[in-house]
Amino acid sequence: MTGTITINGQIVPFQAGQTIIEAATAAGIYIPHLCHKPGYTPHGSCKLCTVNVNGRNCSACTFPAVDGQTVINNSAELQQDRRRITQMLFVEGNHLCPSCEKTGNCQLQGVAYYLNMTDNHFPHFFAHREMDASHPDILIDHNRCIFCNLCVRASKEKDGKNVFAIAGRGINKRLVVNSVSGLLKDSDVSIDDSAVHVCPTGALLIKRTGYQVPIGQRIYDHRQISEVALFAEGSHEQ
């Protein structure tokens, strides 16, 4: 079934099987997101893409486009909800951007900038999270993982491996590595795997690539994530 939906009053066509976020991106409308990536099975975990569909809040990355839907993406309430969600992501992990190699290139940070988030609002968890620096080429800093599941999906769907999984719940939730020791060095991960390049935050980093681009000249230092994402993910890509 194809048809049209309206987003912020604008008429947007969709193809059969498209989700709201896919239809929006194709029409050049940015909906903030972190766990969604074109070409990956939707996961619906971060809730950044919350939009209002016919009066109800839903995740645009998992909700199918249906003919005649009225979608609101830009209300002050939604922006405030998204800001609070992003603040929760920051206090749940330990995000000390000045010490993070991903700063300026980080999608979590990019979304926070886009939402004009100037503080973390909630009390910090200061959760105890480990670092896995065992692998010669790849580093995991669990302090920065937002459990978006992209590395998990990439390893399964793109690399044909099964290196990562999310285990546990609540504050004990963690990214686990499929190896006898639990360490990345004993897994069958490779530096060429999509899984280690897909992370939207600084949780999965490639070693010896740090500071190749100076801070201040990185992606979100000058360009809003809305513009960057639409260019990379939308119909504007050449």
Binding site: N94, L96, C97, P98, D119
Partner: protein, 179 residues
Amino acid sequence: MSNKIKVATTSLAGCFGCHMSFLDIDERLLTLAEVAEFDRSPITDIEHCGPCDIGLIEGGVCNSENVHVLREFRKNCKILVAVGACAINGGLPAMRNHIDLEDCLLEAYRDGIGVENPQIPSDPELPLLLNQVHPIHEIVKIDYFLPGCPPSADVFWTFLTALVEGREPSLPYELVHYD
């Protein structure tokens, strides 16, 4: 009596980098001095802040004295501003938060490389360390946040000129940075 606005500043668990960045507004300081005067700040050497319009707090809360100073600022300042990453989320000092306090002290004063005359400082004059470093909004209510490590001079300028002119301050995209 002057009708200038009164500004107080202090550094808690911070490196004074935010104060240095404030000074980077350069000759605009002269314009600011026409409308504002400093209460407690590193340049006035006043020990306790009096009634103020704006209090700028750099740094997080890592010891008992930080808590007292912060509460005094909250009591005296109409508008309290968290300045920089450490005040907003604990910043780099908060990297000690998952390390046992005793281990931190032992590493810094007894076991660390190059330590001479090893001993844990225990003078009663010294404020007691807290187990963890906390952002200041966890202790008192904060009215505004200026992100950055440090916030740039333009952040200070944009924010203060808005307040002085009676406008609601807001930072444009280019000025919001966490690093």
